[in-house]
Symmetry: C2
Subunit: 228 residues, 2 copies
């Protein structure tokens, strides 16, 4: 019984680290979007610092999970919890990296805008969806709410729809040159992957609660649906 | 002692599944590259089948790892081995997904080529590096060779150099329109991520052998180095 209560304390610590990581990731994507959408480099160093901090916490979760596995040797749903934590930390780590990629695009183009005027609306929508997803992911991890976790997957579909919309605009009389086309292709791809990782966290929590492992994410690229 | 020998049998099974996955992933990237470079859709269904098979094996590795953790409760280097296997399976799964993304680009453009003539040389080089990386990753997993594992990381740098080279060509008098610019940006990104995942497998094996966990991959995007 002592061992079990020790496990519960350790896993509560891991979970609170994950919740903290979701908060930092929200700040990272929010600052990165601000850099892109308001044409400012002020937020860029902060995004990089956040990315570093998120990666350090991901490494800390890995370490803690290793210790829990070695010392507590959890089974059944406890083991599922630990593995879900490990994968969620990896997802959050990647979301931090993607945020810093977005910030870097803003920085490279500054003082010119990286996002042409006609794409501001769709990228603003992507930024909003991304922020909603990470906010929700935080609640999902904090409350282990399977219903909210399912919503994350639906929100990911909203991002895919925006990704398609962006490509339709890009293909319709684009006048901003190749460099801007490359930038916006990558911006869109990074937001899309950010959303995929948030959805994966939702899948992890559903797995935790249900015990059923979902199919591995397909990572489908909705760009292909825009061009028949 | 019985338990220890059982563990060794189980982990040998997991490792042979991983080696088999590297073989399938090699076939997948090779077929996807053939579809792109020879302007053929014949290989495309095979790439999709391979992707499905790789994902199924990744799920099997996850399941086996779960069973090993629950039944054998490994510690120290045995525990490291199990976690490295779990992460390597995830890397190979993503490499299968990226291969199918590449095949889908070829399919969407067919019978037109997805790769304009002036980029054939650099994309051919990317395809060669990708195939060399996955071949080497197979040997690294089969032999747990830390020296070869370190080479994987160096080969990943070769891919980053090609990624930069491609963007320089794209930015220099591009005459193939926006759709082709989007295609080649994504093709290049997918090869680059494929290489990142191979390098991650190398890092896993170095971790296994040394016990030291590397920093989480930065996933830097060499595109940004091309434009100052």
């Amino acid at each position: 019984m002592v061992q079990r209560s020790e496990f519960l304390v350790q896993i509560a610590d891991v979970r609170s680290t994950l919740v903290r990581m979701t908060g930092l990731t929200r700040d990272a994507i929010s600052d990165a979007s601000a850099a892109l959408l308001t044409v400012s480099i002020d937020p860029v160093p902060r995004v990089r610092d956040l990315r570093t901090e998120i990666s350090a916490l991901a490494a800390a979760v890995e370490h803690d999970v290793y210790v829990v596995l070695a010392m507590q040797q959890p089974v059944a749903s406890d083991l599922r919890t630990v593995l879900a934590a490990l994968r969620s930390a990896a997802n959050l780590h990647r979301m931090g990296v993607l945020s810093s990629h977005l910030a870097t695009i803003a920085e490279r183009r500054y003082p010119a805008p990286a996002v042409p005027a006609e794409l501001l609306s769709v990228i603003t929508d992507m930024a909003d969806v991304a922020e909603r997803l990470i906010l929700k992911a935080g609640s999902v991890v904090a409350r282990l709410d399977a219903t909210l976790a399912a919503e994350l997957v639906a929100d990911d579909d909203a991002m895919d729809a925006l990704h398609r919309k962006l490509f339709l605009i890009l293909l319709n009389n684009w006048s901003h040159g190749v460099a801007a086309a490359i930038d916006t292709t990558l911006i869109s791809r990074y937001y899309e992957r950010f959303a995929d990782h948030a959805a994966s966290i939702g899948e992890e929590v559903r797995y935790l609660v249900s015990g059923e492992r979902p199919p591995l994410d397909s990572g489908d690229d909705p760009w292909f649906d825009t061009v028949s």
